[in-house]
Symmetry: C2
Subunit: 246 residues, 2 copies
């Protein structure tokens, strides 16, 4: 019986390894999509943007196969509580990764629209820097998962506040450009959406990091993390946008 | 053995019923949140907006308990493939519902900002109508789930195209108001975000409906559903916004 148990357990471990390899592969593709999408925006490279859009199908397919595999493992191995928690958290993480991939695709979609419009200041460069920071957060979140490193995961969650702050700053910039010259409005609306999309990527990375903390400690990280959103405190500051959640 | 099997099976059915009751309760709360948030915007009712914001905590708590319950059922009953599919789809649906709840909360958040700003035309009324349509879609998606009604679920997916179209129309309206008078810019940026949030609610309802189709048929609905998004076809139409996915 104990031999059988050990046999089952190591089969589960092999399955889990395969699932973890898949999630790291997916994570790598999503990281590349973030960087490429932001680069395509700054360099006005529609070919690269098209590559990101096409590549999203691969990410979606990986999520699907990962979910099938996870469901298969649950059905076949009937994992114990802690192991089940790992498999379920992988499913949630893959959903977050898939959504970040979608957001990168949306960013790339707007690139093909924006190349037809005039450029505005150094905003594309600021957006690329913001995207780069989110990509580094994602890299660390995935490392934190593999290493079961609660401290690193908490650090990533903290860094998302900087992303929110970057978003607020960019929003004010866009508003200034629009007020300065109405011909900037259409471009700024697109750029604003891109900033918002990158901010949302940060939220998904935060959610992945929260899964890591939950996995390691069995508890959710403090839910009352301060949102760098001042509009909900003082509505008069309405040039700041409420930072959306979810 | 067959008695034992039957015993296990009916215990599973009871568990599933309890989970389904929870998801319907959650769905009801989310429907109310959509309607109340949109009403608070149109009637500039900050008290109602505050109620929506506070109520989101209940929705979040329901999602959490639903996930715990689903994980418990999987661990305890080791459901067979088809039953497992039902439980996993409920977990995904609850994630969609939770996100719609977040979007309603975000809408309500902006209400408290917008009451400080001048009203613009009948846009709040249009937004409320759009929200009402999404709420009806959600109602039907949940009915489709309970009845395992593939046809109704496909109908809901189809209706999301109208929501995308409403969003495109509103976007053009906001742009006109902004070009007309730069003092409208801040208000229109907020209203535009609300329109986008409602459009995203529609996407989540679509995703719930797709889960229903998958449950009934074992296959995903045709993935190439036409997005009512013309910008990706003709970038010159850049007053239309690319309809984001995900």
């Amino acid at each position: 019986m104990s031999d059988l148990k050990q046999h089952i357990s190591s089969a589960f471990d092999r399955d889990l390894e395969s699932i973890q390899a898949q999630i790291m592969k997916m994570g790598g593709l999503v990281e590349a999509a973030i960087l490429d999408a932001a680069k395509s925006l700054e360099t006005r490279d529609t070919e690269l943007a098209e590559k990101v859009r096409a590549g999203d199908k691969v990410i979606d397919a990986l999520e699907e196969s990962l979910n099938d595999e996870a469901a298969r493992v649950i059905a076949l191995r009937a994992p114990a509580a802690m192991d089940l928690r790992v498999v379920l958290s992988v499913m949630r993480m893959s959903a977050n990764l898939e959504r970040i991939g979608d957001l990168a695709k949306n960013l790339a979609k707007r690139t093909s629209v924006l190349v037809e419009l005039p450029q505005i200041g150094g905003t594309a460069t600021s957006l690329r820097r913001m995207a780069r920071d989110v990509e580094l957060m994602l890299k660390d979140a995935l490392d934190a998962y593999i290493q079961r490193d609660e401290k690193l995961a908490l650090d990533v969650i903290q860094r998302d506040l900087d992303i929110d702050q970057m978003y607020n700053t960019l929003f004010r910039e866009f508003l200034t450009f629009m007020l300065e010259d109405p011909r900037n409005i259409t471009t700024c609306m697109h750029l604003h959406f891109i900033a918002k999309n990158i901010e949302r990527m940060g939220d998904h990375v935060t959610s992945i990091s929260e899964q890591v903390v939950f996995l390691v400690t069995g508890e959710k990280p403090d839910e009352t993390r301060t949102k760098a959103d001042r509009t909900s405190i003082d509505p008069a500051l309405s040039t700041d946008f409420p930072v959306d959640e979810g």
